[in-house]
């Protein structure tokens, strides 16, 4: 897969426009409540990660947003227009969706893409050029004339993603787009998606429970658990709300329980506003009001002659947030 940046410089307009505005969506299948009162907003040029374990309702949410299934309750606005059956075909021309790796096996890679290009109304000359470009981007140019039935899972994945981006959609839904890809192909795909978001102002909604590298691409996330949006917003903000203050982990020279307990008592007695916890790895985990408190804590421990081996700032990631939300809601993360 070759990551290429188009030489064309796009004109980015109205970056604050809401591309997706979903309000109070609910969907029930028989006795199973798949989605409960889900609301979400995604702005133009935003890369939004829709996270959640298997069965959380990610795919159902994508289907609802695209009006492939109808909500029992709530409404969806795409590009400022209410998504209805009558508007769906027009609005879908501006959207690209990849939800699986199922492509037409009796057609070649090129034929699969040409079929999609015609459905999205690409003009004849543009169609051929764009199909060649996408085959190149996805690293499938050398297999363009091979039937998709002969492809590996990773190649099918590339083809499925390729057809979703073929018509340069303003809004792109990708469901586990890196599944089945080797690390290099996965990194190149993420890099290309970053190009699309940053250079072309494409709005991206990426459903996944694979968190590696996600934070680089998706600065905003929503956590779906059991059909409910448990948290939604910028990753930094969500992390800061969940773990406020500054966190450090201190290893002492000796790891005896008695020493750790004494150090914890010392810190709690000496410094107001500090919470201290002994972790299973026999380190002290401190939550400080802010980073400036770190120096005072270290000085206090040194003055009391506690042997400090290391002081390491603790940073929380999207992965920590994911597991924290999954565990607090009783869901087992996939």
């Amino acid at each position: 897969m070759t990551s290429t940046v188009s030489p064309v410089t796009p004109v980015i307009e109205n970056t604050h426009e809401l591309v997706i505005s979903a309000t109070d969506l609910s969907k029930r299948f028989g006795s199973y409540q798949a989605i409960s009162h889900v609301s979400m907003q995604v702005r133009r040029g935003q890369a939004f990660g829709l996270l959640g374990p298997n069965g959380a309702g990610k795919t159902t949410t994508v289907r609802l947003l695209n009006h492939v299934i109808s909500p029992d309750n709530g409404e969806v606005l795409l590009f400022g227009e209410k998504m209805t059956a009558h508007r769906a075909d027009r609005l879908r021309t501006r959207i690209g969706v990849q939800t699986d790796t199922n492509v037409y096996e009796n057609l070649t890679a090129r034929e699969n893409l040409m079929f999609w290009a015609r459905l999205y109304g690409l003009a004849s000359r543009e169609r051929k050029a764009r199909v060649d470009e996408v085959l190149d981007i996805m690293g499938l140019a050398h297999r363009a004339r091979a039937q998709a039935g002969s492809f590996s899972k990773g190649m099918r994945q590339k083809l499925a993603v390729g057809r979703a981006i073929l018509h340069r959609p303003e809004l792109l839904f990708l469901d586990e787009p890196t599944t089945g890809l080797d690390p290099q192909a996965s990194a190149e795909l993420i890099s290309h998606l970053e190009d699309m978001v940053h250079s072309f102002n494409t709005t991206l909604v990426m459903c996944t429970h694979q968190l590696a590298g996600l934070a680089d691409l998706c600065k905003d996330v929503g956590f779906l658990v059991g059909g409910r949006m448990e948290a939604s917003g910028p990753v930094e903000k969500l992390v800061a709300e969940r773990w406020p203050g500054h966190h450090v982990r201190i290893s002492l020279g000796a790891e005896s329980d008695e020493l750790l307990s004494r150090a914890r008592t010392h810190l709690q007695d000496e410094s107001a506003g500090i919470s201290c916890e002994i972790k299973a790895d026999r380190t002290l985990h401190l939550e400080l009001p802010d980073e400036s408190f770190t120096e005072g804590v270290i000085a206090s421990l040194v003055a009391a002659q506690f042997p400090i081996r290391s002081v390491v700032p603790v940073t929380y990631s999207i992965k920590d947030l994911y597991f924290d939300i999954a565990s607090t809601t009783g869901e087992v993360a996939a």
Binding site: V68, S70, I95, T99, D100, Y104, E105, L107, F115
Partner: protein
């Protein structure tokens, strides 16, 4: 309705069918049997004066034909050959497109569901009506092409083996043109639309084929009976019958598109 999208989906389906030898085989074998082998056997054996027409059970049917419908001055064996080729084979050519269409049409939606390609298609700008029409066209075109191809083969057989018996080139008659170029496409559209509707609600290709057969056969049998009668009357009657089929086709198409349900296809059948 965006016809480019309709033709794009139909073309894709046709390419898939042509490349699927397992689907092509029964579509070609049945017409060859019905339009070539059977008439060939009956004409060759029926024209043999030593073979009584009663051997094929046709003498009774010939007796039931309206008086004056067969050309005068034909011998018994000539009557049998003429009646068989002009009147009794007509309904068979209504059966061919329906049977061919069943093979493709019954898997039109359920086949995509089984191969799990339908979801991607449902996210595209293709509307319900466009999708239903595309699936109908994708089944209709090969069904009609096969029927017309069978008709060409049938004309050749009649011309080669039956015309010498009769003593002149008498086939195809005017009614056959009305049948092949009006009634067959219109009736095929109707049956394909019903089969596609079944396919949209079936859970497997085998189930769709079985139900399609049950849905279509009574209608085919009814039409076959009527067609025999139409072939006995004038071209005008055949044209009126075709006009009625046009109306029925339009009504059925809108009804089938109306009951098409993306949500059901995605949530009940995958």
């Amino acid at each position: 309705m965006n016809f480019q999208r309709v033709l794009t989906v139909a073309h894709k389906d046709l390419v898939e069918v042509v490349r699927n030898k397992q689907a092509m085989f029964p579509m070609l074998v049945i017409p060859v049997g019905l339009a070539v082998m059977i008439p060939f056997g009956i004409i060759v054996m029926g024209s043999d004066p030593t073979m009584p027409t009663s051997a094929f059970g046709l003498s009774g049917l010939i007796d039931q034909l309206p008086k004056g419908i067969l050309p005068p001055d034909l011998s018994e064996s000539q009557k049998m050959v003429y009646a068989f080729t002009v009147y009794f084979m007509a309904p068979v050519f209504l059966l061919i497109p329906s049977m061919s269409a069943t093979v493709i049409g019954s898997s039109s939606f359920v086949g995509e569901k089984e191969r799990r390609t339908i979801e991607g298609l449902l996210y595209t700008p293709v509307t319900d009506r466009e999708l239903v029409l595309a699936k109908i066209i994708a089944s209709l075109v090969p069904a009609i092409v096969i029927t017309w191809g069978s008709f060409g083969a049938y004309v050749f057989i009649v011309d080669t083996f039956a015309s010498p018996v009769i003593g002149e080139h008498y086939f195809p008659t005017a009614n056959w043109y009305a049948l092949m170029f009006l009634v067959v496409p219109l009736l095929a559209f109707l049956t394909v639309a019903l089969i596609v509707a079944v396919s949209g609600r079936a859970t497997s290709s085998q189930g769709a084929q079985g139900v399609s057969f049950l849905v279509v056969m009574p209608m085919i049998l009814l039409t076959m009976g009527q067609t025999t009668g139409i072939m006995l009357f004038s071209t005008t009657v055949a044209l009126v019958f075709a006009a009625v089929l046009v109306v029925v086709d339009v009504v059925v198409f809108y009804a089938v598109a109306g009951i098409f349900n993306r949500e059901r296809i995605l949530t009940k059948l995958l």
